[in-house]
């Protein structure tokens, strides 16, 4: 390399670095894996001249443990509604008052004042969904709107059912099937739950998260699952149907919060406001395949999601949906014991 090319290279490098420096800062997002639309991020970066980084986590507990240790450098995280009160109580998040932000008017009324964050003082809705039963109708044609598919498996599906090993979701479903209330510590109900689970397990083939590919390939013929995952499965194989169990099913939502240790608070607030815009919210949905809580986003939604039965809960099923809550530690301990016994 002669001095001329060296000088050009250095000049270019200098230009590039000043280009970076001219950005109005950075925003470091800590979110679930495979969940953040690159297109929406690009749009945000262009609009506010902010460089965004995204780091993945795989469970609420991982995220909570890491943020609690501190010094992560993240500005934003996306905990589930069961965890939002803990994040608030533990002083991990800032009161950014999204309820007063410009785009807040777009938040659907049923999401504007949730129990886990009254008045939306901390969090902005990212996505919400349900947990139900997915069945390949080529393998089983009977009624599938029941947790019985999992807990009292019909003969056609024996040895072909998968259960997504989210402890709280499985226990919730089992309690519903046993006729109890969520977070119950009633020993009579829990004994039923335990016996139910232990008796059901021999009919399961696996307890795995990797459902989309395995349902499509036919390793599983039925599974408990999240609705967005079910949608992707149906798009790959039209015989796969999502069902809302009649015993009751869980509702969840993930929410964007700004961390107390955030260094780029203003950018984080801009982001909270940005994703409450209908077009941007639809952009997020198009990627992660879950519903958002923003009114007016429908007209920007991809065609295959607009009337998807996985995304739009049928009117008759709606009343059976129930928001999952965080159970008290003592109850949680009982559940862990049942769970260990189930998996031993």
């Amino acid at each position: 390399m002669n001095w001329k090319t060296t000088a050009t290279a250095m000049g270019l490098a200098l230009l590039a670095s000043t280009g970076l420096a001219r950005a109005d800062g950075v925003l470091n997002i800590y979110n679930w894996g495979n969940y953040t639309s690159p297109d929406v991020i690009k749009k945000f970066e262009a609009k506010y001249n902010v460089k965004v980084t995204i780091t993945d986590y795989d469970s609420n507990d991982t995220a909570l443990a890491k943020i609690r240790q501190g010094g992560t450098g993240f500005d934003i995280a996306v905990p589930s509604q069961t965890y939002v009160p803990i994040w608030i109580k533990e002083g991990l998040v800032q009161e950014t008052d999204p309820g007063k932000m410009e785009n807040f008017k777009n938040v659907a009324p049923e999401w504007a004042n949730p129990e886990f964050d009254p008045g939306r003082k901390y969090s902005v809705p990212w996505a919400w969904g349900t947990i139900g039963v997915v069945v390949n109708t080529n393998a089983y044609k009977g009624p599938a709107d029941t947790w019985g598919i999992v807990f009292n498996t019909p003969d056609e599906l024996k040895g072909k059912v998968n259960v997504v090993p989210e402890m709280n979701d499985v226990i919730f479903a089992a309690i519903k099937y046993a006729g109890g209330q969520q977070c119950t510590d009633d020993k009579a109900v829990l004994k039923k739950v335990r016996d139910l689970l232990v008796a059901a397990k021999p009919n399961w083939i696996a307890m795995e998260y990797d459902t989309i590919e395995k349902m499509d390939a036919g390793d599983f013929k039925a599974t408990s699952d999240w609705n967005g995952s079910a949608l992707r499965q149906r798009l790959a194989n039209p015989a796969i149907h999502y069902n809302y169990p009649k015993e009751g099913f869980g509702l969840w939502s993930d929410n964007v919060v700004v961390l107390k240790e955030a260094k780029n608070v203003e950018n984080a607030k801009l982001f909270q406001n940005f994703i409450m815009d209908p077009e941007n919210a639809a952009g997020l949905s198009a990627f992660h395949r879950y519903a958002n809580a923003i009114t007016g986003s429908d007209k920007y939604m991809p065609a295959d999601m607009k009337d998807a039965p996985e995304v739009v809960i049928p009117a008759d099923a709606k009343p059976r949906g129930e928001f999952q809550k965080m159970c008290p530690p003592e109850t949680q301990e009982l559940y862990t014991k049942i769970w260990t016994e189930l998996q031993k």
């Binding site: 443990a65 390939a217 390793d219 009982l334 998996q343």
Partner: protein
């Protein structure tokens, strides 16, 4: 004026000091990187679990009691922690069977390699190390692709008309064993090969000259001489196999917990870090006891020289 003796003493003192200084970085690394985290685990195992993970700095022996004993949540009776025992036993069994399987496959492989000509030996050695270039998870998924219902084996058998429905191999104990044996095989082959390569095959010839049977040659000549390699290989396979996480979860379907899953549960959804710490230390103790017993036994029955 210093006598020659004093000069020598001073030089020796300097020497000792230099040696300490030179080994200081290594000692510090061992002290902080190896012992430090272990101490934290030990301390955590005697604390109280925090409500949502982490620990409260309050002494409590509960974690240790619940490693071995459990209080039935329904009738409140105290009994041996059957769930933990089952899980420990499953993991130990898997580790032992994996060690035996890799030994059965690895010993002939190493023998084959060591008896090739010097040039081709390097090629075989190279081939054995190739799997290490790839991530463990990817190797495990490769096994999954081979044995799954729509996988290579089942497709070929179906096409040939040998079977009419796919054989369910995936998500069985067989699947876990296939995966474990495949993943850990190089760790067994390499140390045995290293001993085997040094083996003086004239001894084998001498054995035959003295009318020893093939089995006798193997048992009385080859095996005792490559024993250090077998021991090293067994240790290298047994320890990681006991803590195996990826292979049993991916190929076994995660229905039955292994030790590693049980520990992970305590740090994740179980939110009982002290119990997780106590379980981890229990595993270490098991490994240590097993190693001591094994090495001692192996040493006792080994060939005596001189």
């Amino acid at each position: 004026m210093a006598t020659a003796e004093e000069v020598a003493k001073a030089a020796e003192r300097r020497d000792v000091r230099d040696r300490w200084l030179l080994s200081a970085p290594a000692l510090l690394v061992i002290l902080f990187a190896a012992t430090g985290p272990l101490l934290i685990v030990l301390v955590y195992s005697f604390l109280t679990p925090g409500a949502y993970g982490d620990v409260k700095w309050l002494f409590s022996p509960d974690a240790w009691t619940s490693v071995f004993l459990e209080r039935d949540i329904f009738d409140d009776t105290l009994s041996l922690a059957a769930a933990h025992v089952t899980i420990f036993w499953r993991s130990i069994k898997l580790a032992v069977v994996t060690t035996l399987a890799t030994l059965a496959l690895g010993f002939p492989t190493a023998y084959f390699m060591a008896t090739r000509s010097e040039k081709t030996r390097d090629l075989w050695l190279f081939l054995i190390t190739i799997p290490f270039w790839t991530n463990l998870l990817i190797r495990t998924f490769a096994v999954l692709q081979i044995i799954r219902n729509e996988g290579i084996i089942n497709t070929i058998l179906l096409k040939l008309g040998i079977i009419s429905a796919p054989i369910q191999i995936l998500y069985t104990d067989t699947a876990i064993l296939i995966g474990m044996a495949y993943v850990y095989l190089p760790l067994m082959v390499l140390p045995i090969y290293a001993s085997m390569e040094k083996l003086d095959f004239r001894l084998v010839e001498a054995g035959y000259d003295l009318y020893a049977t093939r089995f006798k040659v193997l048992r009385k000549i080859i095996f005792p001489l490559v024993k250090p390699g077998v021991i090293a290989g067994s240790i290298l396979v047994f320890i990681p196999a006991l803590g195996a996480y990826v292979t049993p979860s991916v190929l076994g379907g995660g229905k039955n917990m292994m030790l590693s899953n049980l520990i992970e549960l305590q740090f994740g959804q179980g939110r009982n870090w002290p119990l997780g710490s106590a379980l981890s230390i229990t595993v270490m103790i098991i490994v240590m006891v097993a190693l001591l017993a094994y090495v001692r036994n192996a040493g006792k029955s080994g060939v005596r020289h001189g």
